[in-house]
């Protein structure tokens, strides 16, 4: 009799164990159903976005400049491009980062937010147009891509970014 009741308990444990496996499979499934990563190369995204922008007053920044302005190490990511204004009274910028690991998106987004705050502080009080552009800047995180733009054409650039993924 005791043996039977013990067996019952073991059967309950076994049932619970399989229920746990089922629950974890459902959990993984729900995670996978979320937003997917894009396989588009960073060059493709870059050319789609830059086609919508006026780059005459901008230049492609080096990795060192990216580190200086954003604190980001370009080598840590699958791809990262930064365009900055050639004239230091302009605030137009474009940052596109393709991360290797989704957990990196937080760092990049925080870096973009922090850059925006720094620029707003720099131009606060005298650069009305610059502050306006900065306030209209767009930061968008889509799967494994982060997009940050400060430009009069920010909305078009964002549209091109989303279309290229």
């Amino acid at each position: 009799m005791i043996r039977q009741s013990e067996r019952k308990i073991v059967n309950i444990w076994e049932g619970l164990k399989y229920a746990c496996i089922l629950a974890v499979l459902v959990f993984i499934g729900s995670l996978l159903l979320g937003e997917a990563s894009s396989n588009a190369s960073i060059e493709e995204v870059e050319s789609a976005v830059t086609a919508t922008m006026d780059l005459s007053g901008m230049e492609k920044a080096s990795n060192r400049m990216m580190k200086r302005l954003y604190g980001l190490n370009a080598n840590d990511y699958e791809g990262a491009v930064l365009y900055i204004s050639t004239f230091n009274m302009d605030v137009e910028e474009l940052l596109i980062v393709k991360v290797k690991d989704i957990s990196q998106t937080e760092t990049v987004s925080a870096a973009a937010e922090s850059r925006k705050e720094t620029q707003l502080t720099n131009f606060d009080g005298y650069g009305v147009e610059q502050c306006q552009l900065l306030n209209d800047s767009i930061l968008n995180v889509r799967g494994n891509y982060i997009f940050f733009v400060v430009s009069p054409n920010a909305k078009e650039a964002e549209k091109a970014f989303l279309g290229s993924l």
């Binding site: 013990e6 974890v24 996978l32 060192r64 080598n75």
Partner: protein
């Protein structure tokens, strides 16, 4: 949440200590379990579910193995065991390697399989190895089954070692989960371990890490030989103080709550061979692979070809454990080759080598190894290693190299000195052997570390933790 953050130091830890010490003995494990889950959920609110699954699943597996064994149903015991191994490794494999697998598959297929890369649950590599150690030890009959689900939950989630180890084997902690002593002396000892670790992480690793990041940001084609070596040395020091410091903090926190964790680092950079280096570096991981992979495969008690096979299996797995990237695999393979060469080819030659050259030889190969480790791809690794040997056509020394060397000379010298036991011996004799001023000097020194680290953490935005990604 990381230990080297203002919130942890001044809010989370004091509250946890207060709750823990106010709670009567029977409730102490529950307090630790709850705060550990909060600690984990703080950064991983979704993945805490995965951890709860791991606790319940492995707990039930242990109970089942014992029940079936008592009934003499060995076939069911084996089934339960292999199912648990499969589920644990399956989860680790899925979260850590599925993106890597699909990426490589897409590279060879004529079409792309769309996939969503999931963020790696923090600490999954560490706690999966801990739960595996429990299931394997129960299966082997090395330990008794843990019948208290709260104690088992605490073993898996204990916040001091949850994020980055040391990987605590169940057999090492089994008794402590039930009975442990928290004395004032042990608490004080834990505090000194924690503060030394904090100093290593915040004052040394973070500072030298900035030098490495700056050098690594220079395009590989523009790196002079000296700049590349300075960068590599900076990383060599950063990873040691970053991971070693974090391990010291974990051990210290463990002591504060009455636990004794295994040492994870034992001055690895004073090693005189690669074999010795791996006896001193990330000891808990090496021990895990030794106990659960190398020895079950036959270890070195088999023929030479089989022993070589065992070494390679362990080292490829070690590389793979560190991350889903080819450079980690190559890094593991690199150490497999070096260890085989030391064991079977150059053993007598190395033994005859002058002591100083043994150190140079070891550090040379360890630093080359870090070149594979810190790179983000194989191309990146060969680019950097090529620069270290002047293969990019750059001169031996340039202005960048001079600047980075001179501006980081002091911190590099301090890092090198502190990597030897002499520095700690000196520190200890200074802090603990001054008669009646002993306590005052000790408080002053450790208080100084806390104060400096706090000042640094308040001001600096650079506070990464390298082993988070593993």
């Amino acid at each position: 949440m990381i230990f080297s953050s203002i919130f942890f130091l001044y809010v989370f830890l004091p509250i946890t200590l207060l709750l823990y010490f106010l709670m009567p003995k029977p409730g102490k494990n529950i307090v630790l379990l709850i705060v550990s889950l909060i600690f984990y959920a703080w950064g991983e609110p979704i993945y805490v579910f995965l951890m709860l699954f791991s606790i319940i699943f492995n707990y039930l597996t242990g109970m089942e193995i014992e029940a079936y064994r008592e009934e003499g149903e060995e076939r069911r015991v084996r089934f339960c065991f292999w199912l648990a191994v499969g589920v644990n490794l399956g989860l680790l494999g899925f979260f850590k390697y599925y993106g890597f697998f699909l990426e490589n598959l897409n590279a060879i297929l004529p079409f792309d399989i769309p996939y969503k890369e999931l963020p790696l649950p923090v600490g999954i590599s560490f706690y999966t190895f801990q739960t595996l150690s429990y299931v394997i030890d129960v299966y082997w009959g090395k330990v008794k089954v843990q019948k208290n689900v709260l104690s088992f939950g605490l073993y898996v989630t204990m916040f001091p070692q949850l994020i980055a180890g040391p990987i605590v084997q169940y057999s090492d902690i089994e008794r402590q989960l039930k009975k442990r002593k928290t004395t004032l002396t042990k608490f004080g000892e834990g505090t000194t371990w924690f503060l030394r670790g904090l100093g290593k992480k915040v004052l040394l690793a973070n500072n030298i890490g900035m030098a490495f990041d700056a050098i690594n940001a220079i395009p590989k084609g523009e790196l002079s030989v000296l700049a590349a070596w300075v960068g590599c040395l900076a990383y060599t020091m950063q990873i040691y103080y970053d991971f070693g410091g974090y391990s010291d903090m974990a051990i210290g926190l463990g002591k504060m709550f009455g636990f004794e964790f295994v040492k994870n680092f034992e001055y690895p950079y004073i090693s005189k061979s690669i074999t010795e280096f791996w006896r001193r570096w990330h000891i808990s991981l090496s021990s895990w692979f030794r106990d659960y992979v190398y020895i079950p495969l036959g270890g070195n008690r088999v023929s030479t070809p089989k022993c070589i096979r065992n070494i390679f299996i362990v080292w490829i797995l070690t590389g793979f454990w560190h991350g889903a990237a080819w450079n980690f695999m190559i890094w593991g393979l690199y150490y497999g080759i070096l260890l085989c060469l030391e064991k079977y080819v150059f053993k007598s030659f190395l033994e005859r080598m002058p002591e100083f050259l043994k150190h140079v030889y070891t550090m040379f190969f360890v630093m080359i190894g870090w070149g594979f480790f810190f790179s983000t791809s194989m191309g990146d690794a060969f680019g950097y290693l090529g620069a270290m040997f002047g293969m990019n056509g750059m001169p031996l020394v340039d202005s960048n190299a001079r600047y980075y060397l001179m501006s980081n000379l002091w911190i590099l010298v301090i890092c090198v000195i502190c990597a030897t036991p002499a520095a700690y011996r000196w520190f200890r004799s200074f802090a603990f052997s001054r008669g009646k001023y002993r306590v005052g000097i000790s408080v002053l020194l450790y208080g100084g570390i806390l104060l400096l680290s706090t000042a640094y953490l308040v001001n600096a935005t650079y506070n990464p933790f390298l082993y988070f990604r593993f």
